[in-house]
């Protein structure tokens, strides 16, 4: 964890501490900023919190989202068509923070838009608007030392992915750099794919915990409340992305918030039932 003498109160850590004391698991929904419209995103974020989200992952759209499946790629294309930019996403977080000062927000996306803005300027702006963590899918620890220095200086948590294929040496490396939580990709494939291997996850997590003291979230391929409940039996947090983006995609404008809230609340109830 942060070795500072007087660790800053980080929203992510505070959230996981609170959940732990309550014996509950974190629910982390993902949406793409600017999808389906620029105006929809901030109300969606508030709706997710109302429905029981603990941490929000906000996708920064990229023209070439190689690690994502068709659902999130379409969301990115819709958002970019609306004129969504990285600076625009940061402005949305500022807007969200006017009402919600406590729910952690993690930006998730690809490195190039940040490279284009400059990591220093980006990290500073994150800190100003109230972003808590950053996950860049295509920037592994080996290529990221400068980037993460900037994030650390502004107390923004670098969030890392671990995969079923990740070996012990890399797990150790990630353990050293990671802050906030670690995101375990529960299957080999892109976001939104099927065939979640619950037994495989259950077998892998103790191995990760040998090295990682941070909370571990599991995502990629969690599509319903029942699967979320099963995952929550072994993980500290459940991440759901494509399934929510599908709900957004399929909804008419006037029913979108209700549909998303209904789905997320269902998952929340399943997670809390497991713990009761």
């Amino acid at each position: 964890m942060n070795a500072s003498m007087n660790p800053p109160v980080n929203r992510i850590q505070a959230t996981f501490d609170r959940l732990k004391s309550q014996g509950r698991r974190a629910l982390i929904p993902f949406i793409t900023a600017g999808d389906p419209s620029l105006a929809a995103t901030v109300p969606l974020l508030h709706a997710l919190v109302e429905a029981g989200a603990d941490v929000l992952e906000l996708g920064v759209p990229f023209s070439d989202p190689m690690a994502d499946g068709p659902t999130i790629q379409r969301a990115s294309e819709r958002a970019l068509k609306q004129g969504m930019t990285l600076r625009g996403v940061l402005a949305m977080v500022a807007e969200f923070r006017k009402i919600d000062a406590t729910t952690p927000v993690v930006l998730m996306g690809y490195g190039n838009p940040i490279e284009a803005m400059g990591w220093d300027a980006f990290a500073q702006r994150c800190s100003e608007v109230g972003v808590d963590g950053v996950l860049t899918v295509d920037f592994p620890p080996e290529e990221s030392s400068d980037a993460f220095l900037h994030l650390q200086r502004h107390d923004i948590a670098p969030i890392f992915l671990l995969a079923p294929t990740t070996n012990a040496e890399r797990i150790r490396q990630v353990a050293k750099l990671a802050r906030g939580y670690v995101y375990y990709v529960s299957l080999k494939g892109v976001t939104g794919a099927g065939n979640l291997d619950i037994a495989g996850i259950a077998a892998k997590l103790p191995q990760l915990r040998e090295y990682i003291s941070l909370p571990i979230g599991v995502g990629f391929g969690i599509r319903d409340a029942e699967t979320a409940r099963l995952v929550a039996e072994v993980a500290d947090a459940v991440v759901i992305g494509s399934r929510i983006v599908e709900e957004i995609e399929a909804s008419a404008a006037d029913s979108m918030l209700d549909n998303v809230k209904h789905f997320v609340a269902g998952v929340r109830a399943a997670l809390d039932k497991e713990m009761s």
Partner: protein, 399 residues
């Protein structure tokens, strides 16, 4: 000059590297270990050399395009005839090398991305040759532009998957192939077509393509008693170019010129020439390179008449050679490439690929001002049969 790149992490100076999602890092690391293990293995090298000689038909000749040179009244243009390779382009050199490696790694399924279709055809060919399952991803736009190659791949037993996302061209085909690889990483070998992408691909593809320059270095003295004054090749990702250039880097008297796709002209922004246009450095498809992007870091749609050059990035070693000043990068517009295409057909009876026509066009542009004893070696990286539909359409002819 001392020149030894990449470093252990695949960096060519500030370029290259491994910018991949965690799910693929172990696969890329394994590939690197296996490649380094077999690269200097005498048995592997012998098998590669045997395939290049007996299956590809190497060495490819160098031909003095005398009538074309005379028509220009200046420097002599020589052509390295990669168009005469089996499957009609340099792509087969690399596809064979990677297929041999795939076999040693026990992978029975190969995938590839393709733009013009030449790498797809080369991959489908080696998959048939070695009895492997083959899936080729190709942008829907390119499938239209390169229909004969699509049919070729199918004849060879490959599955061609049209990619409808993004700009529906080469970069989107890359995205889709990467997704396939993430999903099927244990069974599948990704035969990447150009000297770009995550380490070790830029190094490995270069090594397999260096046969072009290695041969030329022997052939030119045999032909003219010395090395050429300049070596010239087209650059999309830049595999044919780095294959010719790399062996010449140490020969400082030889000028190295990479020719990018200028599309409608650099000033229009509708091109595929990140080096010539001094594009901002960025990260795409696993490596850090000069990259065509907007102010927000989104990759922009490129344009070239040639599908094989229609790509927003470029291999990391070319980025370094540009910065070092060892190579010079220029752009040739669509219409200039077409004029060179016509000229080679008429003067020499050789129909070049539109990609290679860019390199030829630049040689034709500078030749008239040079003395008649100057020698320009152009890599004729592929033949133009695949471009019949494109050229006919531009000329207003229905086939």
């Amino acid at each position: 000059m001392t020149y030894s790149y990449p470093d252990k992490g695949g960096h060519f100076g500030p370029y290259g590297g491994i910018y991949m999602a965690e799910t693929l890092i172990p696969a890329v690391e394994e590939l690197c270990q296996q490649y380094l293990r077999f690269r200097d293995d005498p048995e592997f090298k012998a098998e590669f050399a045997h395939e290049l000689k007996h299956y590809v038909g190497r060495p490819s000749p160098i031909y003095h395009a005398k009538r074309l040179s005379d028509s220009l009244g200046g420097a002599q243009i020589y052509l390295k005839r990669e168009d005469l390779n089996h499957t009609g382009a340099h792509k087969i050199n690399n596809a064979i090398g990677q297929a041999l490696l795939a076999r040693r790694m026990g992978k029975k399924r190969v995938i590839a991305e393709t733009g013009a279709g030449m790498h797809g055809v080369a991959t489908a060919t080696v998959a048939a040759r070695f009895g492997m399952e083959c899936v080729v991803y190709m942008g829907a736009e390119d499938i239209q532009r390169q229909a004969p190659n699509v049919f070729r791949m199918k004849l060879l037993g490959a599955t061609v998957v049209p990619v409808e996302s993004g700009s529906r061209t080469l970069k989107d085909a890359c995205n889709e192939a990467i997704r396939d690889w993430v999903t099927n990483v244990e069974t599948t070998f990704y035969i990447f077509g150009t000297a770009a992408g995550p380490h070790p691909y830029p190094m490995m593809v270069r090594d397999f393509q260096c046969v072009i320059g290695d041969e030329a270095k022997v052939q030119m003295p045999e032909l003219i008693g010395r090395q050429p004054d300049a070596v010239i090749a087209c650059v999309g990702g830049g595999s044919n170019a780095i294959g010719l250039f790399h062996p010449y880097i140490e020969l400082e008297g030889v000028q190295i010129i990479g020719v990018e796709a200028g599309g409608y002209g650099l000033a229009t922004g509708k091109h595929a020439a990140p080096l010539s246009a001094d594009a901002k450095v960025g990260v795409l498809h696993g490596n850090k390179v000069y990259l065509m992007q907007d102010a927000d870091g989104q990759i922009v749609e490129t344009h070239s008449i040639s599908a094989g050059l229609d790509y927003p990035g470029v291999g990391p070693e070319h980025c370094l050679l540009k910065d070092l000043g060892r190579a010079q990068y220029v752009a040739i517009a669509d219409d200039e490439a077409l004029a060179a295409f016509d000229a080679l057909c008429r003067y020499e009876g050789i129909i070049p690929a539109l990609e290679s026509s860019h390199a030829l066009a630049y040689a034709m542009k500078i030749a008239p001002a040079l003395a008649k004893d100057k020698v320009l070696l152009v890599n004729l990286s592929g033949r133009g049969d695949k471009d019949m539909n494109t050229v006919a359409r531009i000329k207003g002819i229905t086939l």
